[in-house]
Each structure stands twice: as C-alpha cells, then as structure tokens.
Amino acid sequence: MKRRDFLKAWMICGASTTFGITRNAWGGASFEGYPERMGVLVDLTRCVGCRSCEAACNKEQQLPAPSAPFDDLSVFDRKRRPTEKAYTVINRYETTKAGGPVYRKIQCNHCNEPGCLSSCLVNAYTKTQEGAVIYNPKVCIGCRACMVACPFNIPGYSYSSAFNPLVKKCVFCYDTRLKNGKSPACVEICPQETLTFGHLNDLIKIGHERIREMPDKYIDHIYGEKEVGGTGWIYLSGVPFDKVGFDTTLGNEPIISNVKEFLGLIPMVLAIWPALFTGFHLLSTRNNNDPSKQGDSHSYREDAKP
C-alpha cells in the first residue's frame, strides 16, 4: 500500500466517522459470529503428544524444514510458542492427574472478534465467513500491533528477514483446504481424533455432551466458548485449564471492547484537529491584518492564506 493511499483512506475514514455515516460500525457489540462458521474442538484428554499435527502443518503451509525431526520428543523439555517456522506446536504439562502428562496443542484460536484484526492499522486481517482469521501478507507492514493485541500470543514474526519482516500465523489452512470444504491438515492427520472439525455451533453442543456423559473425565468448562467473545477453536480438558498453559483471566469481552470507544475517537481527532488548529492559527494571525502593520507582516500573511 502506498503512503498516499494509506493517508487518503485514513482521512476518508475519519471524515465518515465524524459525519455519522458508519455510526453502527463500531457499536456492533452484539455480533455473534457468522452462522455457518467452522471450528475445531480440541479434546486434551485424547492427545498423546505424537506431533503429527506439527508435521502436517509444516508440509501443508510449506514451512522451512524443522531443526529436529517431528518424532523427536526432546522438544517437550521446554515450553514453546508458535513462530514463523511453526504455526502450531504441542507442549507437555506434567500434572498430578493419573494417566501421565497432558499435551496441549497451540495455534491461532480464530476468535469470533479477533484482537489482531481490530488492532491492524492497515486492515490486513479478515475474519472469513468460514471462520478463519486470515491476513494479507502483501498489505502487512510488519508493525507487530497484532502480536501485542492477541490475547493468546499467537502471531509469529519473521525476525529472520532483515528487509521485509512480516507477521506469520495459522490461517486454518484457509487457502488450500478450508474454503474448499476440507478440514485443516492437522485435523486430518491426528491419529487420536483429538481434533474434531465441524460447524462451531455443533462442536459446542458436542463438547457439552461429552462433559455430561463423562463428568469424571472432564472439567465442566469449554475453553473458548465464551472467552474473549468466543473462539473458533475450543478446548476440553481433564485438568484445570490454568494448569496446562491456558490464560483463565481473559474474561468474556472481546479484545476490541477494551479499546473501541477510544479508537472511535481517533478518526474524529484526525478530522477535527486540522480544522481546529487552522482556526487557531487564523485567529492568532488575524491582528496582522491591521493596515498599520501591513508593511512588515506582508510575507507572513501571504503564507497564512489557505
């Protein structure tokens, strides 16, 4: 995007907000998500930590070769997060629960109201009606605002690129699979069916049904059903979520709710301030029109003319 186009778009946005054309655009707190959106139910009680999903992601997204084989389990010795080279990772948590460690898959949760999308100043992000949160790398300017805004610390960053660093993250295999009606590559490869792909509304029902049928096996909560306004990837667990790396302090309000009133002021500031300060300037220089001072303020007055 050219700088000129960017500033033009910003000014148009500011003007339209000021004159109330899009008043409802940032008052949409009741958005409940696209009705046909897809999602994935992740059942942590099923995962055995085989890392097949990581391998499938690497191949599907044509990511660089890993530094260790995907059957190397020594990577579990430390906690990892998604990066530019791995859009999904599995972490291992030792718990007191019988039956060994608990494995947790991390990838973009594809929020209903994504914080990354709200924070992106070049509008690179899109929430598709299929439920994926995708981004246009051609528009991304690498500002990393989305990395700060994401409540789950998901977007990775191509720190390795010296000249054109960009944000990189899981896109729900949108281009290659989801938009053609196929499940993401990680879902397809998972041997344990830890990942269940389907319509999000159905998955929420399935999750509650599993809890109802096996109350001793599951914590009575679906993480992501309500957190930060609901996410496309939702989780069942047999151990408390905060014990396996989930942030349970996020609350149920979408990230944009924290800032939308403030953000709504910014375009107005952009639209009003130029006029306001031009007015101040004209006021402060009005006295210069006094004919007695005309001689020495002539050139100055010429500059002040709009």
Partner: protein, 175 residues
C-alpha cells in the same frame, strides 16, 4: 483304500469343526484383519483378531453392543440394554474413514434424529480403542510398535534419512 481315505477325511473335518468354533466362536469371524487406512505413511497392520479375543474375552470392549454381548458402559446401556447383534460388526461399517469431509458433515447435519453425532472416524476409533487398553495393560503404545513407518512417512516427519543434518540436541526417539 477308499474306505480308509473317507474315514480320514471325516476325522479331519470333525476335528476341524470342533476346534474352529472354540477359537473364533462364530462363523465368518476373521482371525486376522488387515488395517490399511494409514498406508500413505505406514505399513499396514495385520491385526491379530484371534489373539485379542483371547486377551479380552468380552467382545463389547471393542464392539460395543453390536455382537450381542451386553455392554457395560452406563451411557450405552440407557438405550442398548436389550439390543440384539447387528448384521455387520466391522469397525468400518459405522466409523467413517473420512469423518470430516464436507459430505460426511453435511450428511450428519441433515440427519437430525441421529443420536450418535459425536462418533469418531475410523482412525480415531482404532487409536482411542486400542490405546486405552495398551497403555493400561502393557501393550505396545509407540507409533511404530504397531505400524512401522514407510519411506514416505520418514519424509513427512523429517525423520530417519530425512532428518535435519545438524540435530539441535538430544537424540531422535522414534515412537
């Protein structure tokens, strides 16, 4: 000569018919089943059905209520307390090999009266069903303990001859 040969054949038949039901209990029950849904990356599994019958005794552990033996799962008993054996008992009869294809999802959604909406696919059913007992009773639990990886699998996992040239640390522990 003919008499002796006929008696021999009869004797063999009688012995065979007496032993066979003890080993596989009913007709058409396979002693070995080839599981080949993962042949893209793994060798097929020759599942020793006869051996597992001996180990488990109770068919319902794997076959739910479909073989006619009562299931003990409280969630199943609610409806299937008196269910008779079904015509087909193979895993593939109910568990889809493509559980998340657009067609399967559409079919499940259109069948509003279906109760079993959360039925795992074939691969999930195998692994969930086998894995639980194997972990509890000391059966094999590593991926390659049941199905060795093919060359294509090594390439997919960047393992074996496709392993990164300079491993960062630790040795590869194939499962």
């Amino acid at each position: 000569m003919h008499v002796v040969r006929n008696w021999l054949i009869r004797g063999v038949l009688v012995i065979a018919l007496t032993i066979a039901p003890a080993d596989s209990r009913a007709q058409n029950m396979p002693d070995s089943i080839d599981l080949d849904s993962l042949v893209q990356f793994y060798e097929k599994v020759s599942f020793d059905h006869a051996k597992h019958i001996g180990l488990s005794k109770d068919c319902s552990v794997c076959h739910h209520h479909t073989t006619g033996t009562p299931t003990e799962d409280a969630n199943c008993i609610r409806c299937h307390k008196n269910s008779a054996a079904t015509a087909v008992v193979a895993c593939t009869a109910c568990h889809s090999a493509q559980p998340f294809s657009a067609e399967t999802i559409k079919k499940n959604k259109s069948n509003v009266k279906s109760y079993h909406k959360d039925m795992p696919g074939l691969k999930g059913a195998y692994h969930q069903s086998c894995g639980g007992c194997h972990a509890r009773d000391g059966g094999p639990t590593g991926c390659q303990d049941c199905h060795p990886r093919k060359k294509s699998g090594d390439a997919f996992y960047h393992a074996g001859e496709y392993a990164p040239k300079t491993p960062k640390n630790g040795k590869s522990r194939g499962r």
